[in-house]
Amino acid sequence: MLAKRTSAAVSCVSNPLVGKVVGPRDLANETHNVERCFLDLRQLANAVISDELISLPWLGFITADPRRVEGRCTISALSDDTVIAEGDVIRIAPKARYVDVLYRRSANANALFVTERCTNFCVMCSQPPREVNDRWRITELTQVIDLIDRTEQWLGITGGEPTLLGEDLYHLIRACGSKLPTTALHVLTNGRRFAEHPYANQAQNVHHDVTWGIPLYGDVAHLHDYVVQHEGAFAETIRGLYQLARIGQKIEIRVVLVKDTLARLSKLASYIRWNFPFVTHVALMGLEPQGFARANYEAIWQDPADFASKLEDSVSILHNRGIRTSIYNLPLCVLPVSLWRFARRSISDWKNTYLDACAHCRVRDECCGFFSSATKHWISRAITPISDLREVSP
């Protein structure tokens, strides 16, 4: 687990700055628009740090010794030195005593966070929405896209609800397409806005490799509407799914395994298989103990040990139809062995952790582990290290 923010001393900054971290390897191998880069002096040998190099118009410096570049913008005294590394895109701001990592080269997943606002209010939301004006994010993200590695394979777009950006969402996606032509995009949206024909139509040809990840929490209206706390959301999401399918978009359905959804999980799988066989992926997802989820523990938590067979049925129903199916966020030891092939290491590394018990587990490296926010009552009673693979082989 590697945090995305670390406290630091920041000097000589009058505006928020977004820039890319340049270290020894990139310095030698690539040409840079130095005005948009922070030079990371921490990793550079003294011999390399010439006056000539320093005098270039770098956006700033990351250094343990700010005196070396007096009068220039500096980031120093990082409480965790490993948070920022070469290739990352970071943000600093006046008076903020920290650095935010907006893109991390070494991460297993990077996402553009486009807004805190949302039209749903999900009972297990790990990123509770806030009604704020955060249009500034678009401007900032446009800069970020410029700085992301062109070799990046995968980039998420998330919120909040990205479609609240309206046309700007499409502008942003187009920008990704032109700046990062080989990067696949994954947009997390509740899909409701696509129920509007004209808005959905604009998604056509907006990008050559975009998947729309849309959550569905029930096969009946009241169930989904309850989970997202919005009457009528189900109907809009369903219509949105059909609209996106009509214009040939790639769609992923995401099912978060809250207690009420679990009660009808295999029916939901049948519903998807019958109505949305065109989806490219279905992800069945364990809870992230964060945000509203913590407040609603009683209402939403069920121990995975108690729904294993239900999960098996649901995966089979989808898989048999040829629908690619994955299980996210559930450790292998709580799953029947028959489901291991569907389980993914789904937790972003900056919030991923393992338990002491995992130290001697034989399948730790194939396992998603836990959210670092998982306290004791979010951990299944079935957790046990797999010590002998023969015991579990089918």
Partner: protein, 497 residues
């Protein structure tokens, strides 16, 4: 933050949408309930009654019915998008018009099969050949239909005895299609006995598929399909191999006709299909036409007898599949596909509105046009009721013919007595010509209809297997439906449709 409970979104109000149901013959207090578009669920009869009568309806039953499109809770929350999408998918075929076009190039044949549906003529009776002019007009009419895909199937008699006509028609269609750009598929239904290198080369060049008859191992095949030389089986097998070597394995398919002699030997017939490398077999009973009717006493059997045969055959097929031999039963697969996914299918004999005239057109050797093969067989027996017209007329004329009016007013199950309330309606078809042939009345009479009895028992059988078949059987059926290898089909609890 304030969260509402799940109850707050449930509400007490609900509205019933059209529901059709059937008590399960194997468990009379449970029902199979289906929606307008054919999505379905099981529930107990009492649960269904309480939902319909609003007598303490169980929440779970309301949910199950809502999920499959039989009920809506509040209009503010409900969407008809899935139901409409399913209906649209199922009815998509109607907008395209007939896609299957049968060209009867000749009635001549050298076989004398007892069950022949066609009233064949002797090999030298050339007045039963289609003329060049008739063929040319038929091709003109073919392109009057809007369907983007056209399947052209040559039938007889034995089409290979009139191969020059087949060539003329294929060439003429291909030429015309240069402008039309339809997706073409050619099939010749033949014994294949009269294939030669030149004919095969023509088939190869135009990607023509061959469909032949194989009734089982030698003794059964030769019994059913007599030749003076008594070697129909040997010739057929040789021809299948010959054709495959020239056109590829999958270019040759086979159909089996089941006579009384076959009924006691399902395993032998299936084994023969496996031996010949076929991955599917179509087990269908005799139809009441042509020579088939005249020789009924010898080869006929009751629907009950057929069903016994079919069950045994299905069991054997499942057994073969579980030990690694992929072979599917075509009709079970067709019906299960409709039970497990909303889809339109190419099979014209099981559609509502009827496939006769709406899905298929027959261009007879004499220039007359019929809405189905069965209609032209009735005509061959002296009853021209279903003649739509001739190739000298326009397709608009054919559609305003009295024959078509009879078909349209009797060929929609939704408005046919006995069908309209049937839980299996979304998966079944309407066949007014069959009704007429059997009972003299195109609307038909369901309680005495062999078509109905056969299909009811077939639906019951397949639905029962979905409900309580053993895991192996259910997995094999799903592997047929979803076209996946059996080892990729995982078991799951029943009740999931």
């Amino acid at each position: 933050m304030k969260f509402k409970s799940s109850k707050d979104y449930q509400g007490d109000e609900y509205r019933l949408l059209p529901i059709r149901f059937r008590r399960l013959p194997w468990e009379r207090d449970r029902v199979f309930a289906s929606s307008l578009s054919g999505q379905w669920t099981f529930l107990t009869h009492d649960e269904l009654r309480r939902c319909i009568q609003r007598d303490r309806p169980p929440q779970q039953s309301l949910d199950d019915l809502e999920s499959v499109g039989c009920l809506e809770r509040s209009p503010e929350q409900h969407t008809f998008a899935p139901l409409l999408s399913q209906l649209r998918t199922r009815m998509a075929r109607l907008t395209a018009g007939p896609a299957l076009h049968l060209f009867v190039v000749s009635l001549r044949c050298d076989h004398s099969c007892g069950y022949c549906q066609v009233s064949r003529q002797s090999p030298d009776a050339s007045r039963f050949d289609m003329s060049e002019e008739t063929a040319q007009l038929a091709v003109e009419r073919l392109f009057a239909w809007p369907s983007p895909t056209l399947t052209i199937e040559f039938q007889g008699g034995e089409p290979l005895l009139s191969f020059a006509r087949v060539q003329q028609i294929v060439k003429s269609i291909v030429k015309r299609n240069g402008m039309e750009g339809r997706e073409l598929r050619f099939v010749i239904a033949s014994t294949l006995h009269h294939l030669d290198d030149e004919r095969l080369e023509f088939c190869r060049k135009h990607h023509i598929q061959l469909s032949t008859s194989l009734d089982g191992p030698a003794e059964l095949h030769n019994l059913n399909r007599p030749l003076p030389s008594r070697d129909s089986y040997e010739r057929t097998i040789r021809a299948i191999q010959y054709a495959r070597s020239a056109l590829g394995h999958d270019a040759v398919s086979a159909l089996t006709t089941l006579t009384r002699a076959t009924l006691s030997k399902p395993e032998a017939v299936i084994d023969e299909y496996v031996r010949q490398g076929f991955s599917s077999i179509f087990l269908r009973p005799l139809s009441p036409y042509g020579f088939a009717r005249r020789t009924q006493t010898r080869s006929a059997y009751t629907i009950a007898e057929f069903n016994e045969f079919y069950k045994r055959a299905l069991k054997y097929l499942v057994q073969l599949n579980t030990v690694g031999t992929y072979i599917e039963e075509t009709y079970a697969t067709l019906i299960l596909r409709m039970l497990l996914m909303p889809q339109s299918h190419g099979y014209v004999d099981l559609r509502s509105p009827t496939g006769a005239g709406l899905g298929t057109i027959v261009y007879n050797y004499d220039g007359k046009v019929y809405p189905s093969d069965e209609a032209r067989m009735l005509a061959a027996m002296g009853d021209d009721t279903f003649c739509m017209g001739t190739v000298f007329q326009s397709v608009e004329d054919w559609y305003s013919s009295p024959a078509m009016r009879v078909l349209l007013s009797n060929g929609v199950s939704e408005s046919t007595p006995g069908c309209t309330d049937c839980a299996y309606l979304p998966y079944c078809g309407s066949d007014p010509i069959d009704s007429y042939a059997r009972s003299g009345e195109p609307a038909g009479h369901r309680p005495s209809s062999a078509f109905c009895r056969r299909h009811m028992s077939l639906f019951d059988l397949l639905v029962e297997l979905l409900d309580r078949g053993d895991s192996d059987t259910q997995r094999v059926l799903e592997s047929w439906v979803f076209r996946q290898p059996l080892h990729e089909i995982l078991p799951h609890a029943v009740g999931a449709n």
